[in-house]
């Protein structure tokens, strides 16, 4: 039985989790920036 798919799945899952979290940070940054622009107006 080859176990390489499990290895690939584990590494892929790791980076998917990190990328999703980084994307949420980026979206929160964008929202805060919009709020700052609104406040400046």
């Amino acid at each position: 039985m080859t176990t390489n798919p499990y290895l690939f799945a584990a590494y892929a899952a790791t980076w998917i989790i990190h990328i999703v979290y980084l994307a949420t940070i980026a979206s929160r940054y964008a929202r805060v920036k919009r709020e700052i622009d609104e406040l400046k107006k």
Binding site: Y6, A10, Y11, A13, I17, I25, R28, L39
Partner: protein, 240 residues
């Protein structure tokens, strides 16, 4: 700072890439004889847990400091370290079953190590939910107490495999197990890479939280000024 951050991002990216190459290539870490290539999950599974626990201890220190000094910076550090720590512990909890399935023949078992790790994860998820959904001025104090409780559970996760019979292997550091020096080198390299990555994520998240708090304060000030204007003579409040 504007130059330092991108440089650190590039260096951390290179380090993460090199650490991954060393973890996956037989030139870096040798292939384990019994498990084969699937054992290479170890180089992500274990450093993720170590990084998470390191962040939970930073949360512990910041929480204690906040309770003593009521310093807002410590409160932000506590929040950020818990959030990033939960992400790393999630990686540990996801990669664990993926490794267990081909090796143990099961995805999950309710043994001490796995269950205690899940409990610590749930404590910190609760911590983040408290921070997210409670608007009380007492929230940072409650959260600090919860963070201290969570950190006190972390040693239990580590020592659970010493105190109880579990399916989980013995620790590779601190006695109980042995490991090929080349494997240890790759393990430590990946931990270093993950720690640098966690530091950069915490840094971004810290600045985001500071900005968010400044914006919230500005909103509150504006509301207060609007209220004051409404209360001035000459302004009439309209119903509805």
């Amino acid at each position: 700072m504007k130059i330092v951050f991108p440089i650190l991002v590039i260096l951390t990216g290179i380090l993460l890439g090199y650490a991954m190459y060393m973890a996956l290539s037989p030139n870096g870490a040798p292939t384990e004889q019994t498990m084969g290539n699937v054992q290479r999950i170890f180089y992500y599974h274990v450093p993720s847990a170590w990084t998470a626990f390191l962040l939970f201890f930073i949360n512990f220190g910041a929480s204690v400091y906040y309770l003593i000094k009521r310093c807002p910076t410590a409160d932000i550090v506590a929040l950020v370290s818990a959030e990033v720590g939960v992400v790393f512990l999630t990686v540990n909890l996801v990669t664990g079953p993926i490794w267990a399935r081909p090796v143990w023949g099961i995805w999950w078992t309710w043994d001490w190590r796995l269950t205690s790790t899940l409990i610590v994860w749930l404590i910190y998820v609760s911590y983040l939910m408290l921070r997210r959904f409670s608007a009380s001025s007492q929230t940072p104090i409650l959260a600090a107490a919860m963070g201290i409780f969570g950190a006190l559970c972390v040693p239990f996760v580590y020592f659970s495999i010493w105190f109880f019979r579990t399916q989980h292997p013995q620790p590779v550091m601190g006695g109980g197990g042995s490991i090929d020096p080349r494997m240890m080198h790759v393990l430590l390299l990946n931990w270093l890479a993950f720690s640098c990555f966690a530091f950069l994520v915490c840094w971004s998240r810290y600045h985001l939280e500071k900005l968010q708090r400044a914006v919230d304060e500005a909103h509150a000030m504006r509301s207060l000024m609007d209220e004051t204007k409404m209360d001035e003579p000459g302004h009439e409040r309209t119903a509805g």
